[in-house]
């Protein structure tokens, strides 16, 4: 029998255990893996053909190749990072396994990091094939963006995690009744964060709202790169400053919702 208390600080072994759990889930269920690739591919084909059509009829778009496909790919990075994060958590609710995890030594911070890691894995599975497919089909090589791509990617993924974190906090507090948020919340941002058009297109009332979103700076930065061929460091700095703010706020909200769930007993009632 174990009698000594072992060191129970932040454990990478427990994070590894959770990543392994989600990896087993993906590798044991091919429909899940196919679904990861399916939607980004369908989206890319749709917007890619729209871009081809528009470019044939507009010199502006002909000179700014990849505006739609690039916007779409980055939008998918944002969407899939949030969904990958929240869906991994939802898997625990769907399989009624959350109780086992909550009553294990797994700490909330370790759980969060494991969800981040698995969202990156899911993102890689879903997005890598699509980025390579865009090269022969639409002549858009997102990898040619170089270093700015890595910065755009990081900015969007952190924003996706922040939103995902708030969603799982709400799920812990409200149960499966809040499941729809994991699917739909990000689409509320889509028109405001200006994926396919500049912020100046929005009504003046909405523009300050758009500039409060870190993702808006990323999409503006992408357009600056594709249209004017310049790297706007001011936009990138704005994105990361807001990302940091959003992430800290999301962590605070998550822990408050978790504490509230412990007070109300909702961790033991994860049904609808």
């Amino acid at each position: 029998m174990t009698s000594a208390t072992r060191s129970t600080g932040f454990s990478f072994a427990r994070i590894g255990a959770m990543v392994l759990r989600y990896w087993y889930l993906l590798s044991n269920s091919w429909p899940r893996a196919v679904e990861l690739i399916y939607w980004p591919t369908v989206q890319m084909l749709t917007w890619g053909f729209v871009q081809l059509y528009v470019a044939q009829n507009s010199s502006f778009f002909a000179n700014a190749a990849g505006l739609f496909v690039g916007g779409l790919l980055l939008w998918d990075v944002l969407l899939r990072s949030q969904q990958g994060f929240a869906f991994a958590f939802l898997e625990e609710l769907w399989s009624r396994n959350l109780g086992n995890l909550l009553m294990s030594p797994l700490r909330p911070s370790e759980f969060i990091v494991s969800l981040m890691v698995i969202s990156l894995v899911r993102l890689a599975i879903g997005m890598l094939p699509v980025t390579f497919l865009a090269i022969p089909l639409f002549g858009f090589n997102v990898w040619s963006l170089g270093l700015p791509l890595a910065v755009f990617f990081a900015g969007l993924v952190i924003a996706g995690w922040s939103i995902g974190l708030v969603i799982i906090g709400i799920l812990l507090r409200q149960g499966m009744g809040a499941e729809a948020l994991a699917w739909s919340l990000m689409f509320l941002l889509m028109p405001i964060t200006c994926v396919y058009y500049p912020v100046s297109t929005l009504p003046s009332l909405l523009q300050p709202v758009a500039w409060s979103l870190p993702t808006t700076y990323v999409f503006e930065g992408l357009r600056a790169l594709l249209i004017h061929h310049e790297i706007r460091f001011d936009l990138l700095a704005g994105a990361f400053a807001l990302d940091a703010l959003w992430f800290v706020a999301a962590v605070v909200v998550f822990y408050r919702l978790l504490a509230s769930a412990r007070r109300t007993g909702s961790l033991l009632q994860q049904g609808e």
């Binding site: 087993y24 625990e92 399989s95 086992n100 030594p105 033991l268």
Partner: protein
Amino acid sequence: MPAPARAETDLAIEIRDLAKSFGTVRAVDGISFEVPRGTVTGLLGGNGAGKTTTIGMLMGLILPDAGSIRILGRDMPGERAQLLERMNFESPYVDMPHRLTVRQNLEVFGRLYRVPDLKARIAELVADFDLAAFVDRKAGRLSAGQKTRVALAKALLNRPEVLLLDEPTASLDPDTADWVRGRLEQYRAATGATILLASHNMPEVERLCDDVVILAKGRIEDRGAPADLVRRYGRGTLEEVFLDVARGTRAEGAEAPTPRHEEAEA
């Protein structure tokens, strides 16, 4: 000689004046009891008596409004992370991930509990719980009896010093239920573990438990060894005692119930 550290206490679980309300409902109303190390204690009570809330607080999933919980001499929930490495839990109302095989599930949970020499421990449990025939089958494809055996194997992965069981034999056929009880008896005898068992199955409680705490409306209605309770209530079985407590009836010549908190304060 220095005084023994608090963590060396002979009590596995100490609950003092524990209370929890949900809105206007007083789910647990100032209960106090102790569970000595190496014993099996039954937590009985009808639906809504406060068993699940009490277990939730013991696992740190629900924060009490008042009172204190010490497990293995440490504060719960204050030292929750440390304690949970030395505890485990099993309930038919919590599933293992359906799409993972039994072996994958045991591997994941073994890593979560940082079980040393995990491969050997899983092999040992596969043999002990007779899981070999379906260890590479997905958990979602198991029968209720097989699922219970796997859940119990998971609950014993880390060789817990304190094991909380919530109706471990609910919905099992008599043969499988008897097999589960036998395994629990073996584990307790081999390791000296402490078991807290919430159950509605009175023959099971009589067989396994050294002591019983009966809850009603969030309070301790009575407690004692099963045989003592049966004698004091002038009944033939614990089930009849349970019904007396639930219905507020008494047999002719029955002794008065033990006053609430008396044993905890003794």
